[in-house]
Amino acid sequence: MLSIKQITPWKTALFILMLLPMLLGLSYGLLYSFGVIGLLNTGFTTEHWSDVLLNFSFWKSLLFSFGIGLISVGISLLIALWMVVNWHRDLRRGKLSTLIYLPLAFPATVVGFFIFQSFSKAGFWSRFLYQIGIISDIEDFPSVVNDAYGIGIILASSFIITPFLSLILKGIFENEHVTKFQHIAKSLGASQRQVLMKITLPILLQKAKTSLLLFLIFVIGSYEIPLLLGRQNPKMITVAIVDKAQRFNLNDIPQAYAMAILYVLFLLFLFFGFQRLAKLKTKAYA
């Protein structure tokens, strides 16, 4: 066994390796956004920050991303829970497990492209419905990609994270011996519904909550999928930042940095806020 003293330098080194570049990156962005560094900047100014903070479309993008994230994780959670609760035996082996974990092999860009090809107005489903006469024109197919509500983005994100989530939930299900608790509860006279609501779900959700938060952050931070399946308005925050940084006006780059920093702050707030909340809750139970 390593002693504490032996571990500390390793920890410090790891800390420096991971945290230092991140902090430096953020500081660089911060200095850039205040006009202190950067090729076209002329000196300290708060102009870029006020431009961003007063910009309605920035806040809209941030909220839109957050909403898309919540809905995608929500849908995946429902599907994954349903699968794990009902099929936990079949998930361990056999064709079903292969089928369910297949999406794990797809990179985000491929999923985005796949959803686009299937669900666009000229895509597979539209043509299929047209051929069998349900819609009279491929134009009549509902807008599912590049739509105002981000349905395409939600479909693609859920497709990607559901297998991950079911893997995690399955792990929890087995590690926490949920089946045993279910049996005990049943033998003590609990109904199916009571077992589900009082035993299975609370155990799974309690253990999975940090993972859920991470998936939320993952969806908010995805880029290729909203780029391909989203639209110009409302725009996911990641796409908005890259657009600001790259599209045409070099004097907008400091604004892009300011947006990126606010985005990081938002995620940190989400992460630590949630951790605190979870702690308070645990204390309240105890």
Binding site: T12, L39, A122, E139, Q232, L250
Partner: protein, 403 residues
């Protein structure tokens, strides 16, 4: 923790300090062309260009590259990248105070040139050193000026193209020629017309803006805020009239021209556009567009512009790059490039300055099958506007039409 803070502070100082230390400035006055040849040959060199067109790639990889190797023993590596990617990359190099650049030569035009000059990332002036430069048609405003900016020897014209609208001859007999006709056409065929949210779409909107302003001369020269405000207001009124009848009710625009081509090819759109008049021939030959596809220039005109070659300021192979450019603008290579079966890119040479053999060759190049002859669309060619017009249009398009 204390050490960490110290380390952090030091690193921060390190990244934020910017010293300008260009290692060895190249002064071309000291060089004859023989010196440039001697210094430039037998080197490896990297060129960055857009690699999205297979035909262009074949021309560069299988025609130009072996030639350079044979003639000058230059090993040309072509990497993919264009526009803002080049700007970001060179900007990062300058900010990091790099001593050399990853790229030596690059294919640029218009707003990229403007931005690269803004950050002072281009080497120059150098174009007049090249023996082949005298054949370039610098007097032609479509070649000698890039987005109304003087080239000043910082980039060399390479090719010249004009924007066209592409439609399907079987479906549309009489494509719209004026703004009014376009409006009524779009109203009659709702959901079948749009433009992309990138360069091509912006180039289309610039042509409309010039038409509204009453001709190319009104907006000539440097960016004029008053004129822009006056005419762009009218442009937004016009585009908002179109909007409800556009593809997806004008709530979404294709992200790029490739997507628009796709939508045109599968029949979702009746029109697509290209900033290269020869592209329709390429796309038909590739099998993406149907043989009944045609390119045309409406009466209100479309923008004609040139694309150029620039050398990065931090390049260590400037002499090699100049040698390569001199080859790229030779009559032989320009002729090959102009053939519709090769690339179909218009030449930047003034054909009357060439010897009679090449004059004949240039004048007898095979015609394009699906695009109108260049001299016919030349009359409706509009010059590029100053880059700020495009920057503002891009921004205000979002505000006035999308949001």
């Amino acid at each position: 923790m204390k050490y960490f803070l110290v380390l952090y502070a030091f690193s921060l100082m390190f990244i934020s300090c910017q010293t300008s230390s260009e290692t060895k400035p190249l002064i071309l006055d000291d060089y004859t062309w023989e010196d440039i040849q001697a210094g430039g040959q037998a080197q490896d060199m990297t060129m960055m260009m857009w690699k999205g067109d297979p035909k262009i790639n074949v021309y560069m990889q299988e025609y130009i590259k072996p030639k350079l190797l044979k003639k000058h023993n230059i090993n040309l590596t072509i990497v993919d990248g264009q526009g803002n990617y080049i700007v970001q990359m060179l900007m990062a190099e300058l900010q990091a105070d790099a001593s050399t650049s990853e790229i030596d030569l690059m294919w640029i035009n218009g707003e990229t040139f403007y931005q690269l000059r803004q950050i002072d990332a281009l080497f120059g002036p150098w174009t007049s050193e090249l023996p082949n430069a005298y054949k370039i048609d610098f007097e032609n405003p479509f070649i000698g000026k890039d987005f109304q900016q003087a080239i000043d020897g910082y980039e060399m014209p390479w090719g010249n193209v004009q924007m066209t609208l592409i439609y399907n001859h079987d479906k549309i007999k009489q494509p719209p020629q004026t703004r009014a006709e376009l409006l009524s056409f779009v109203k009659e065929h709702p959901g079948k017309f749009t433009w992309d949210n990138h360069f091509t779409g912006l180039t289309f909107m610039k042509a409309l803006l010039m038409d509204i302003a009453g001709g190319a001369n009104v907006l000539k020269g440097e960016f004029n805020e008053n004129l822009y405000a006056k005419y762009s207001d009218k442009l937004w009124v016009y585009l908002n009239q179109l909007k409800p009848y556009l593809w997806r009710q004008g709530e979404v625009f294709p992200e790029n021209v490739a997507q628009m081509h796709q939508l045109f090819a599968n029949g979702e759109l009746l029109f697509t556009m290209s900033i290269n008049d020869a592209e329709v021939d390429n796309k038909v030959e590739e099998g993406l567009f149907q043989k009944s596809s045609r390119a045309y220039v409406p009466e209100f005109g479309t923008i004609q512009n040139s694309h150029y070659l620039g050398i990065s300021k931090l390049s260590e192979k400037k002499l090699t790059a100049m040698l390569v450019v001199n080859e790229l603008i030779s009559e032989e290579n320009q002729l090959e490039k102009m053939k519709p079966s090769v690339w179909g890119d218009g030449t930047v040479l003034q054909v009357s300055k060439l010897d009679s053999v090449f004059q004949k060759k240039f004048n007898s190049i095979a015609q394009r099958n699906y695009a109108p002859p260049r001299k016919d669309i030349q009359q409706k060619a509009l010059p590029e506007l100053a880059p700020e017009y495009m920057i503002r249009l891009a921004e205000d398009f979002k505000k006035n039409l999308i949001d």
